[in-house]
Structure formats: structure tokens, C-alpha cells
Symmetry: C2
Subunit: 208 residues, 2 copies
């Protein structure tokens, strides 16, 4: 199994984390997205949408979209429950993450780390941060009465939402007003075979 | 089964279409999102994220996120294949739809229909339209060699992508450069029990 990824990507980290938790060996291939390596002709032949992460579970079979990769890898494991309503809840939060959370937390993080913040971008940044705080508020509301996002157990919904929430401060977010979210971050970190986000290219390493 | 929805929403239409194709009876409840009816205290108690569509499959059980609802309803039917790789492809395109497609096609459509386009919004509109054309390009590339998005058959991935693609002109998109997409729209329209998007509140009606 091969993973095309960028070490600084939260979307990539989701996949590295589940691979580590499931103890699945893989070859990690760094793609320098800042240098355009995800938009080369060769890369677009593997993923026409030009994004990482991209999983190659068998030679020549390509699966993009971090949350689709989570579903694929977790199928048949406790990280994706089999009963219909639990699974519906997992899916609900995975789509929430990609629509309401990731664009408003990952994008401010990217802008603040890698781009110049001119007055126009400052305005857009503040709009996205307001939407990001709204997403964190929805999470806080849920976590006040549930230890995890779906079915009361740790699933890929938690992995997906952990990826950018735990680095939200890098996008200018203060988690102080979200105590239930902060407690949940600790519960995720305490999972068996949890591994921190990378500080350099390569697979994450098991820590527990 | 109850569906809280807005007749003009493509995300809502996805759910109405699968309910019609599966011949599942339901009660349709119109939510006037333009008047803030998805942000009332009562509505937020059902869906803290304040969005439609929202499915209530059993009294007091609530499922938001249009694509999660598609997965829930299609489980065990031909619209969501059971084998692992086919399912992975369905998920890939569902997440593509919510991340790369919907925000860049549905939002321009909403702005052009319901908001004033001042110079600042005009700039944002053009940026989103460029990203929307990129998403249509990814679809065109795929459909040049495949009749449908996943597993070579009509699935919920097609339903999800059809919803806003078939009204993309309302967001200022010209589909002329995408002949494979236009042919695919026809194939979707030709499916048994296909039903057009509503022109007024209520369930869609079977047509074939």
C-alpha cells in the first residue's frame, strides 16, 4: 500500500493515523504541494483533482479524498461500526467535517502559515474564522453530552475532526471557549496507538 | 419518515430523488431558510448546524448532511454497492461533491438568485466559478471513459453530483465545453423513477 501525502496536511494526517492505529504497513511518498508537485502531469494521471492524500492500495488503483480513504480502511473494524444508525452518524460527521469544518479551519491555518495576509485576505480570513468558530460551537454542543462523535465510541469521525481541530490555534483559533472540545482532544490522544502529526515527511509513529 | 427541506435546495433534491427512486413514502416539511427558519431555537434543537435537508427516519432521530442521508437510505440497495472498492469510489465522489463541487457551484447559484452582487462579491463569484469549472473539468475527464461515477453503474454518487450540475447554468456556468457531462446528465434523467427538481414545496414526483 502506498500513500501520496504531504507531512504538514491534516487531511493526510487522518490517513496516517488510521494506518498506524490499524497497524497497516505502507510506503509513504512525500508530495511537495507548495512546489506544485500535486499538479504535475504524472500526478494528475493518478488523481485528476490534483490533491493529497491519495491512497494506492493495489498497484494502479487510486483512492483520493481523505474521508473516503478513512471509510475504505476502517470498513470491518471498530473504527466504522456496522449497524445502520451508528454508521449514519459517522457519515454525518465526516460530511460536516469536509463542508463546515475543514474549509473554515484548515484554510485559515494554511493562509497564516504560507501566504501573505493583505487587507482583502484579512477580510476573508475573518469571515472563515467566524464560520470555523461556528463549527467548533456545533462540536462543543455535541460533546457536552457525548464522549465521541458517533455511537458513543471512538471512530473515524473523531479521527477526521481531530486532524485540524488539534492544530486550530495555527489558524488563529482559541479553544478556551470550548472545554468539551478540549476534553475530547485529550480522549483522542489517549487512544491506543495514537500518534502525533508529523513534523517532517514520513509515517507517524505509534505512541502509547 | 419526515424530511425537513427547502424546495429550491439541490442538497434537498438529492434526498427527495432517492426517496422517490426507492419508493419510500415520507412527510415533506418546508423550511424557509431565507426567512431564517433553519436557525430558530426549535430547528437548532433538531440540527445544531442549522441546515437543511434533515431526515427524521424515526420520531426524535435526526440525520443531517445530504450525502450522509443518501448513504443511510441507499444502504443495501443497488444505489450503494456492497463491495469494498465500488463503495470506496462512491465515497470518493460524495466527498468530492461536498468539498470541490457544491461550494463552487451551489454558492454562485445562490448568490446570483438571492443576493446583491456588489464589486466585492463579484470578485468572490468569479473565483468560485473558476473553481467550479475545475470541478466540472474533473467530472468531464472521468465521464469520458465511464458512464457513471462509481463502479460503472448509477449510484448515489451520480445523484449527489447531478443535483447542482443540472442547474449549474443558474450559477453562471456554461456546460457547452463539457460534452461528457451533458451526456451523463441525460443518462441520469433516463433512470427509472427519475423526478425533476421541484418548482414549489413538496415531494418530487415520479416520471418515467
Amino acid at each position: 500500500m502506498k500513500l501520496y501525502d504531504n507531512f504538514d496536511s491534516g487531511n493526510g494526517y487522518k490517513v496516517r493515523l488510521i494506518l498506524n492505529q490499524l497497524d497497516i504497513p505502507y510506503t509513504y511518498l512525500e508530495v511537495d504541494t507548495l512546489k506544485g508537485e500535486s499538479r504535475t502531469e504524472d500526478y494528475l494521471a493518478m488523481n485528476p483533482n490534483g490533491r493529497i492524500p491519495l491512497l494506492e492500495p493495489e498497484p494502479g488503483m487510486y483512492l483520493p479524498e481523505s474521508n473516503a480513504i478513512l471509510c475504505f480502511l476502517a470498513e470491518g473494524t471498530p473504527y466504522l461500526p456496522g449497524d445502520r444508525w451508528s454508521r449514519a452518524q459517522v457519515m454525518q460527521w465526516l460530511f460536516f467535517e469536509q463542508y463546515s469544518h475543514e474549509p473554515n479551519i484548515a484554510t485559515p491555518r494554511f493562509w497564516l502559515r504560507h501566504t501573505e495576509i493583505d487587507p482583502r485576505r484579512q477580510g476573508l480570513l475573518e469571515e472563515k474564522q467566524a464560520l470555523g468558530r461556528a463549527a467548533l460551537g456545533v462540536m462543543e454542543h455535541h460533546l457536552k453530552t457525548s464522549p465521541y462523535f458517533a455511537a458513543g465510541i471512538y471512530t473515524i469521525a473523531d479521527i477526521a475532526l481531530y486532524a485540524y481541530t488539534h492544530v486550530a490555534h495555527q489558524g488563529g483559533f482559541d479553544l478556551e471557549p470550548y472545554p468539551a472540545v478540549r476534553d475530547w482532544l485529550d480522549r483522542v490522544r489517549d487512544q491506543p496507538r495514537h500518534a502525533p502529526m508529523a513534523t517532517q515527511p514520513g509515517p507517524v509513529s505509534w505512541r502509547d
